[in-house]
């Protein structure tokens, strides 16, 4: 499999750089309903995710932590994408997003800005960086105890 500069540019788009440099919702939360931690041992990515729920809807989401550009941008884009959606919608989005990054984009699903991470498919080693935040969010929503891990 040959990788071109184009593939690299596809992955490291301006949106990724933007969300890496200035991650959105990058702060602790005062009174979260759910908190979960995630860790990517391969990369050293670590994050702590906070969620506030309002009658089954994600009212607010934020995160702190440190990691590679892919994991940071993904977490930032995720917190933007899930606000205002029900828990069921968020879980469905997680499944579809994971498919986008690993297998094939589910037809008809509009990923909005999340689409920029589709390029990670050419870098299988980095998929875990892109999905860490989502695994962590999933753990937060189901109330799992242990930190989310991508391995």
């Amino acid at each position: 499999m040959s990788l071109s500069r184009g593939d690299l540019r596809e992955l490291y788009q301006e949106v990724i750089f933007d969300h890496n440099r200035s991650p959105r919702n990058f702060h602790e939360m005062e009174h979260p309903d759910r908190v979960a931690e995630g860790h990517n041992p391969l990369c050293g990515d670590q994050l702590k995710l906070y969620v506030r729920l309002d009658k089954g809807v994600v009212a607010d989401a934020s995160f702190v932590g440190h990691g590679c550009a892919i994991s940071t941008a993904s977490a930032s884009l995720m917190t933007e994408a899930v606000k205002g959606h029900t828990v069921e919608e968020v879980e469905a989005l997680f499944r579809d997003f994971h498919a986008l990054l690993t297998d094939a984009a589910p037809p008809g699903r509009d990923f909005g800005k999340l689409e920029v991470l589709a390029g990670v498919k050419e870098f299988p080693v980095r998929v875990k960086c892109a999905t860490l935040a989502w695994h962590t969010l999933h753990n937060a929503l189901i109330g799992a105890g242990d930190p989310a891990k991508t391995e």
Partner: protein, 435 residues
Amino acid sequence: MNALAPRLDAARAEAPVGTPGGTPAAALAAQVAADFPILTRRVRDKRLVYLDNAATTHKPEAVIETERAFYRESNANIHRGVHWLSQHATDLYERARERVQRFLNAARSEEIVFTRGTTEAINLVAWSWGRANLKPGDEILVTGMEHHSNIVPWQLVCEQTGAVLKAVPLTDRGELEPGAFEAMLGPRTRLAAIVHVSNALGTVNPVAAMVERAHAAGARVLVDGAQAVAHQAVDVQALGCDFYAFSGHKLYGPTGIGALYARHELLAAMPPWQGGGDMIRTVSFEGSTWADPPARFEAGTPNIAGGVGLAAAIDYVTGIGLPRIAAHEHALLEYATEAALRIPGLRLIGTAPGKTGILSFMVEGIHPHDLGTILDAEGVAIRAGHHCAMPVMTRFGIPGTARASLAMYNDERDIDALMAAIRSAQRMFGTGARP
């Protein structure tokens, strides 16, 4: 043609600096590159710039051919057969053991136990020597720059025996804190397990001096030599250590093979750790008795072809000469260090004087994994992460580093490609030098 000898042209072996290949590093690289078939392959449609040698080294044709030839002409199980092929395979394997003995300058071939690699060798000592000798409150002293394989086995055996693990702290340059090793050797210290050359920092520890101090304090010494044996001559008698472990695949040899050197009197007293065929003298349901070392620690059919291949790798390396390889790598390390320091925002991690050809670094504003991916797209292979040395990363307050590590076939072109790719990444991330 003797497949075991490197394709060494006598005249070229004596080539002074400045001839074919130009610079000193390029000279040796130009000479040996043709011996390594994988170096001709393209990766991502680019020339392979392989700077991940601390992870594993490539194999010369002599080693590849030796393993192939073993399966074609000499394959049989060893030690137990009565037929000619089995005898022949046994001879090759035992001669390989003697080759390792000579390579390390061990006193006897019985002091060489073949293992899967360094990790298994250390686990062998931990489980066999450790469990038989450690009591609650005993201490094992390691250093803050150890690879996980020289930390975790001791943690496991400490859990089992009630012994305590201590670690010598590091300076900001990545050396052992002066005086700390000596100060931490106490009356309860049973073993010092120390790395010869740090895979994360490149630091070379003064092993011989440390062994002397440890012995004076009544402690045995195990040395993790995984990153040492391919880059400098190792003489276990001169070092004085009790145990020395290394891996074949970091020495231009096959994977799945390595060796533990251990003093004969220690091995003779150590209980078995893996049970099975070959390590026994007699077996009955009323009880079994054990073979003498080294067989006592080699249960089951080993990686015979790997052992024979390892001997070929040792022949290849010593044919070129470790002093020559060391000089080459040091010259290249200097070249690389100078080039790295010219890159704004690049910080070297591990700056001990006399370090080996390992360059760990961080580039401001670019996570090591992002850097690794961008370099990969340029055909440059480095390693990014904690390098199985999480305590080192914690000590320096970083998530991980990007690491370039040198071998005999690397040259200035490889370093130039690395630096160009780093600058490329900086342009992409909008950091680094302003155009």
